[in-house]
C-alpha cells in the first residue's frame, strides 16, 4: 500500500550519501588541530588536509555514513598510507644497529629487543658501542645482566668501530647481535661520521632509529640526517606510556621509508610492543 512504499522510499532517501560541506569543513578543521597537537609536521598537516578536503568533497560517502564519518574514514586511509607497509622483523641471524638522538631510549630499547628475541628462542648478544656517554658501558652491562644476555665492552677503547668489530668477532656464533651506539644529532659532523664509519665497517642487517614520542617538528630533519648516513630500516617509537601522541613518527617514516617496527611503553625490558597502526592513529586523532 502507499504508506508502506512511501516509508520504504523515505528510508532509501535517508540512506543516500549526502555531503554536508559545512560539517566537512568543521571536521577537517578539528582534525587539523588534532594533528598539529599530536606533533605531526606542520607542512605535512597542510598537505594531508588538502588531500582530505579534495577527497571528502569529491568522493561519495559509503552507505549510511554521516559526513563526519566520511571524513574520518578518509583521514584514516591517508594516515595509514603514510605509515606504509608494516613489517615483521624476521627471526633470522642478524646484526641490529641502534641509532638516534640523545636520550630517546636506544640503550633501554636494546635491552627490550634482547629479551624479545631471546623469548623467541634466538641466541642474543649485545655490543657496547657508545664510547662517549659517561657510564654507558655500565648501563648496558646492567641491562644485559637483567635480561641474561652476554655483552661485549671495552672501557679503554675510544674507537667505536674497533669495539663493534671486536664484538662481532666474539659473538659470531650468536643469532642476534644488538649494537648500542651513542646519542648524536644532525649538526655534529664528527659523530655523524662515526656512525657512518660503524655502518660501513659492519653493514648491519637492521638499522633501527629510536625516536621519542614527545619529539616535535625536528623529527623529520633529524630522521633524514640519520637515514642519509646509515639507511634506516626500522623506527622504534618510545615513551608511549606518557601522553605524547608521537606524530613525529610520521615524519620519520616519510623521511626514511622505513616502517615503525616496535613501540616502547615503559622502562623495563618487557615494555616493548609490536606497532599497531589503528591504535596509533586513533591515539593521534585524540
Amino acid at each position: 500500500n502507499l504508506s508502506t512504499s512511501l516509508r520504504k522510499t523515505l528510508k532509501k532517501i535517508a540512506n543516500y550519501p549526502h555531503i554536508d560541506k559545512d560539517v566537512i569543513r568543521e571536521v577537517i578543521h578539528d582534525i587539523q588541530r588534532a594533528l598539529v597537537m599530536a606533533d605531526v609536521n606542520v607542512r605535512m598537516v597542510r598537505d594531508i588536509t588538502r588531500r582530505i578536503e579534495e577527497r571528502a568533497l569529491s568522493e561519495r560517502p559509503e552507505a549510511g555514513m554521516s559526513s563526519k564519518e566520511h571524513v574520518i574514514r578518509i583521514v584514516y586511509e591517508e594516515l595509514v598510507h603514510i605509515l606504509g607497509e608494516s613489517k615483521e622483523v624476521p627471526l633470522k641471524k642478524m646484526n641490529i644497529m641502534m641509532v638516534g638522538l640523545y636520550g630517546q631510549g636506544k640503550t633501554t630499547t636494546a635491552g627490550k629487543l634482547a629479551r624479545y628475541f631471546q623469548r623467541k628462542g634466538m641466541r642474543v648478544a649485545m655490543i657496547a658501542g657508545d664510547v662517549h656517554r659517561p657510564a654507558a658501558i655500565d648501563q648496558l652491562r646492567q641491562i644485559a645482566e637483567k635480561v641474561n644476555v652476554p655483552v661485549y665492552y671495552d672501557y679503554d677503547e675510544k674507537d667505536a668501530v674497533k669495539i663493534v668489530l671486536g664484538g662481532l668477532e666474539e659473538f659470531k656464533h650468536e643469532d642476534i647481535i644488538i649494537i648500542d651506539t651513542a646519542g648524536r644529532h644532525a649538526l655534529e659532523d664528527d659523530l655523524i661520521d662515526e656512525m657512518r664509519c660503524i655502518f660501513e665497517a659492519v653493514n648491519p642487517d637492521e638499522k633501527f632509529l629510536v625516536l621519542d614520542a614527545t619529539i616535535g617538528q625536528q623529527a623529520g630533519p633529524q630522521a633524514k640526517a640519520f637515514n642519509d648516513a646509515v639507511q634506516v630500516t626500522g623506527v622504534v617509537l618510545t615513551k608511549l606510556d606518557g601522553t605524547a601522541k608521537g606524530g613525529g613518527a610520521l615524519s620519520a617514516v616519510a623521511a626514511t621509508h622505513a616502517p615503525i617496527v616496535f613501540i616502547g611503553t615503559g622502562e623495563h625490558p618487557d615494555d616493548l610492543e609490536h606497532f599497531d597502526p589503528p591504535r596509533f592513529i586513533s591515539r593521534l586523532l585524540g
Binding site: M37, R133, A135, L187, I215
Partner: protein, 279 residues
C-alpha cells in the same frame, strides 16, 4: 586606517605557522595570538606598510611577556640564600637532568661555590655510575646509596653532609619519570618533603613538541617548579618548548643546555629566544 580584520588574520596566520614550526604548543600559540588580536582591535595606523611590522612587534612583545614572568635571578638567589642551598632537578626521562647537574656544579665552581651531589636516581641502570664519573671529574662529593635504595634517604643524607661540612649547594638528581605514573610522581613528592629544596628545577628537552605543556603542568602541580632548564638546543631545535613551558607553569626558563660539555650552559634571555623564533 583601522587594522582590517582580514589583513590582521592573514599576517597572524603566517606568524602562527612560524611558532608552530618552532615547537610552540598549539594552545600557547592560540593564547598568544588571541592576546595580540585583542591588543590590535580597532588600532589606527598611519601607513599601510606599518601593518605587518606592527603585528609582529605586538606578537614579539606578547612572547617576551610570557618569557619574563616571575623572573628568578639564579646567581643572586644562590648568593643571598642561607647555605646550604638545596636544588632539586626533576623531569621526564632522558631530558638531560644528570648532565645539567654536572654543568650547574661547574657553573657554581666558577663562581666560588662548593657543591654536593645526591644520587637520588636509585632506579635506572648506570645512573649512580654516571654521576660517579661526573663528580670525580668535577672534584665534588657524591652522596650515594646502593642501587634500588630510597631516593629520599639519599637526598636527606646529602643535605646533612652539606650542613656538617659547610658546603654551599646540594644538587639532587632524580630519576626520569612520566608525569602519568602516579607512583613515581608520589615518590618525587616524598623526596621534596624530606629534602626541602629551595629551588625545584624542571629540566626539559628542546626537541619536545606539544606534550611539553602537559608534562610541565603536571610536574608543576605536583611539586611547584621554581624555574626550568631547557637542554639540547644545539640540536637545531628552535626551542619553542621554552615558550610552552613558561606559559604552562608561569615560571622562567633559567638556562639553556647547548651541548654535552660542562661549559655548555647559557643563561636564558627572552630576547635571545625571540630572535631565535623569528630568525
Amino acid at each position: 586606517k583601522r587594522l582590517k580584520f582580514r589583513v590582521l588574520n592573514d599576517v597572524l596566520s603566517e606568524l602562527e605557522i612560524i611558532l608552530m614550526e618552532s615547537d610552540v604548543a598549539l594552545p600557547v600559540v592560540d593564547e598568544i595570538t588571541a592576546e595580540v588580536k585583542s591588543e590590535l582591535e580597532g588600532v589606527k595606523l598611519r601607513r599601510k606598510e606599518d601593518v605587518g611590522e606592527f603585528i609582529e612587534a605586538s606578537l614579539k612583545s606578547a612572547i617576551r611577556g610570557v618569557l619574563t614572568t616571575n623572573p628568578v635571578d639564579f646567581d643572586d638567589f644562590i648568593a643571598r640564600h642561607e647555605k646550604p642551598v638545596v636544588l632539586m632537578f626533576v623531569g621526564v626521562n632522558g631530558t638531560g637532568k644528570t648532565t645539567t647537574i654536572a654543568k650547574i656544579v661547574q657553573y657554581l665552581k666558577d663562581r666560588g661555590y662548593s657543591s654536593v651531589i645526591a644520587a637520588s636516581d636509585t632506579f635506572r641502570a648506570g645512573a649512580i655510575e654516571q654521576l660517579g664519573i661526573h663528580s670525580a671529574r668535577l672534584g665534588v662529593k657524591l652522596i650515594k646509596h646502593q642501587a634500588g635504595g630510597d631516593p629520599a634517604a639519599v637526598a636527606y643524607d646529602a643535605v646533612e653532609h652539606a650542613k656538617a661540612r659547610h658546603k654551599d649547594v646540594v644538587l639532587i638528581d632524580t630519576a626520569g619519570r612520566m608525569q602519568t605514573n602516579k607512583n613515581l610522581m608520589d615518590e618525587m613528592k616524598k623526596i621534596k618533603r624530606v629534602a626541602k629544596p629551595h629551588m625545584m628545577i624542571y629540566v626539559g628537552d628542546s626537541l619536545a613538541g606539544n606534550d611539553a605543556v602537559e608534562q610541565a603542568s603536571t610536574f608543576n602541580e605536583a611539586v611547584s617548579i621554581t624555574g626550568a632548564i631547557l637542554c639540547k638546543i644545539d640540536s637545531d631545535a628552535r626551542g619553542g618548548a621554552a615558550l610552552s613551558i613558561a606559559h604552562a607553569v608561569g615560571k622562567p626558563i633559567l638556562f639553556v643546555g647547548t651541548g654535552q660539555g660542562y661549559k655548555d650552559l647559557v643563561p636564558f634571555s627572552a630576547d635571545w629566544m625571540v630572535n631565535r623564533l623569528f630568525g
